[in-house]
């Protein structure tokens, strides 16, 4: 992102487009279209929603902003620190628009990120920059890159400050607020506008703290959310938790956009570190340590794992983590079967009962 900003590109994020499709509950119109041309129903439903919408020549951007179609890219840039699906998704558009796909493939599933990992990724950044220079016919302006990284760092720290207000009991925000306010930190890193946005937001949270305003009236339980949001059920779930007087105080998902390793003085290596270090790219033990720390920091009473059918990368319920959390650390856990966008994998009935029963379990503890 920061590199592209430094080159003066306008950056468009298909992921954000997909989340919009999901939140508007229209993903199920598009996923089958992508399935029909060979993209499996078992792979990322961000990918299948977005490609399906493109093939149908439709976009929710029309209603929202009067933009009739997704923009035609000159270049696609992708980091596979989260998963392979992203790469395949961008490659689809690369073929469609006859545009090059430049990619960074960091080493995967790291326990600790070490110097040689950073070296590897930094070289890949250099390579990407060289290709971009060749393509644009312009040299990278280092001052601009430093500026972009500085702005990213500032935004990311404000974002962290915003999320961390939830450490307070009762919390002034919920995970659902996080999923709405995360857009700038995802798509506007490196730009002043993200900094301005989070300054305002942080100020509002501080005001809430000062006035003792809680996100959930009479907060009884504090819960950590592990996994993707269920975009088409944000409202329904947030209302259910309010009714149960339980607050989803924190999530790995929202935290994943904290990149506080960025250093304007060493932009490339620090980006390499920050983007390689992301939670999704880490080993099971590293993930476990991280979640345990966060549970403690946010004083959570339990964890809900969202096992998203089409996103194994972001579903940490698959390799025994919930059982370990419970057996080894005594933390009550619940696993919800669902999906980020594909609501055919989601059962309102089962989810409602599971959540209600989980709260009953916490009540009787």
């Amino acid at each position: 992102m920061e590199v592209l900003v430094a080159f003066g590109f306008k950056v468009y994020f298909p992921e954000n487009h997909s989340a919009l499709i999901g939140a508007r509950k229209i993903a199920d119109d598009y996923i089958p279209v992508a399935n029909a041309v060979g993209y499996s129903p078992e792979i990322c439903s961000y990918l299948t929603s977005d490609i399906g919408a493109y093939l149908r020549n439709e976009t929710p951007l029309k209603d929202a902003y009067g933009v009739s179609s997704i923009p035609k890219p000159d270049v696609l840039a992708v980091n596979t620190n989260q998963c392979r699906d992203l790469y395949e998704w961008f490659s689809f558009f690369g073929r469609r628009f006859d545009a090059p796909v430049f990619s960074i493939h960091p080493p995967k599933y790291l326990d600790e990120v070490e110097e040689h990992h950073v070296d590897d990724v930094a070289v890949q950044y250099e390579d990407m920059i060289a290709r971009l220079e060749k393509m644009t016919g312009e040299r990278l302006d280092e001052a601009k890159l430093k500026e972009a990284v500085a702005l990213s760092l500032e935004a990311t720290e404000l974002w962290k400050g915003f999320l961390d207000t939830a450490v307070h009991v009762p919390s002034p925000l919920t995970f659902f607020d996080g999923t709405i306010h995360m857009a700038p930190i995802v798509v506007m890193r490196g730009l002043q506008i993200a900094v301005d946005y989070y300054k305002q937001l942080k100020a509002e949270m501080d005001e809430r703290l000062e006035n003792g305003i809680a996100a959930v009236d009479d907060e009884r339980f504090r819960i950590y959310w592990e996994g993707m949001p269920v975009w088409g059920r944000l409202r329904k779930l947030s209302e259910q938790f309010v009714d149960l007087r339980a607050c989803l105080v924190a999530s790995t998902y929202c935290n994943s956009w904290i990149f506080d390793d960025m250093m304007p003085d060493d932009p490339i290596r620090s980006m390499a570190l920050a983007y390689t270090k992301v939670f999704v790219n880490r080993s099971e033990p590293a993930k476990e340590r991280y979640i345990l720390d966060e549970i403690k920091r946010f004083k959570a009473d339990g964890i809900i794992f969202h096992d998203a059918r089409t996103c194994p990368a972001n579903s940490n319920a698959s390799y025994g983590m919930p059982a370990r959390m419970m057996e080894d650390h005594g933390i009550p856990t619940l696993t919800l079967d669902g999906d980020l966008n594909d609501l055919r994998c989601w059962s309102d009935e089962q989810a409602t009962t599971n959540i209600e029963a989980f709260i009953e379990q916490l009540e009787e503890r």
Binding site: M326, P332, T333, L334, T335, D337, C345, S347, E349, Q350, T353, N354, E356, A357, E360, Q361, E364, R365
Partner: protein
């Protein structure tokens, strides 16, 4: 007096108990399309069976239709109610397996009867009552005869598929291979047990409960065979949820 009403996916149950937690009356009906109506009917039936008036009786509703019982004083999920009901009969750490019409639940409790964790089957019907109904229909066996047929089976065969549709296809090939109906039916029950074993480790004392096992004793045999030890059976397994709800009404 205290009443529990369990509006399940296929049957609605009501149980009324006295202060000493003894059953006074119970009633059951098919749930059908009108949850309000059926809840009202089973309640009235149980009341008249005991010669009681509704005044002064505390009611807790449970089951998937719990929110539709407007005369209930409060609601509780079937997970908590099954747990409460089973623990009353077997007061120790338990692994409770509730095979219901639409879903199967596994609940683990500690020695005090508090829930440690619970799991529901994934969205597929395999391993639930709905699965057995579907297979019975496909095999042209009346549902009530499935248990008897399976008990008469003398040959063990395997059905391994993960989902209802694949199981149906697998059955077709068993029929083509000339396997006997009774042996296939037994294997179908066996696959229900396998699905359950995949959900969570069945440790300690295992209780099997719910409407499906009330009508299909074979499931006890098969689970005992799979685990190599005794499986506990609450009295009137179909009513465990309603009984647990009545116990909550007492609290």
């Amino acid at each position: 007096m205290f009443a529990g009403i369990d509006v399940g996916a296929s049957a609605t149950k009501c149980m009324i108990v006295d202060e000493s937690k003894n059953e006074v009356a119970s009633a059951v009906r098919r749930t059908g399309m009108s949850l309000r109506k059926v809840a009202d009917e089973v309640y009235k039936e149980a009341l008249s069976g005991a010669g009681l008036e509704p005044d002064g009786i505390k009611v807790v509703a449970t089951g998937f239709g719990r929110k539709n019982v407007d005369f209930a004083d409060s609601i509780r999920t079937e997970i908590s109610c099954h747990c409460k009901g089973c623990y009353h009969h077997f007061p120790r750490a338990l692994t409770i397996v509730d095979i219901g019409g639409q879903d199967t639940k596994l609940i683990r409790t500690n020695v005090e009867g508090k829930i440690i964790d619970f799991k529901m089957n994934r969205k597929c019907a395999a391993g639930t009552g709905a699965f057995l109904e579907e297979i019975a229909r496909r095999m042209d066996v009346p549902l009530e005869e499935m248990n008897g047929l399976a008990l008469s089976s003398e040959r063990e065969i395997e059905i391994g598929s993960y989902c209802t549709v694949f199981t149906a296809t697998e059955i077709l090939s068993k029929i083509r291979e000339g396997e006997k109906q009774k042996d296939i039916v037994r294997a179908v029950f066996g696959s229900v047990i396998k699905r359950i074993q995949e959900m969570n480790p069945l440790i300690g004392d295992v209780v099997l409960t719910g409407g499906v096992v009330a009508h299909n004793e074979i499931l006890f045999d098969l689970l005992e065979e799979a685990l190599g030890r005794e499986v506990l059976k609450p009295p009137k397994p179909q009513f465990t949820g309603a009984f647990g709800a009545a116990l909550y009404a007492m609290m």
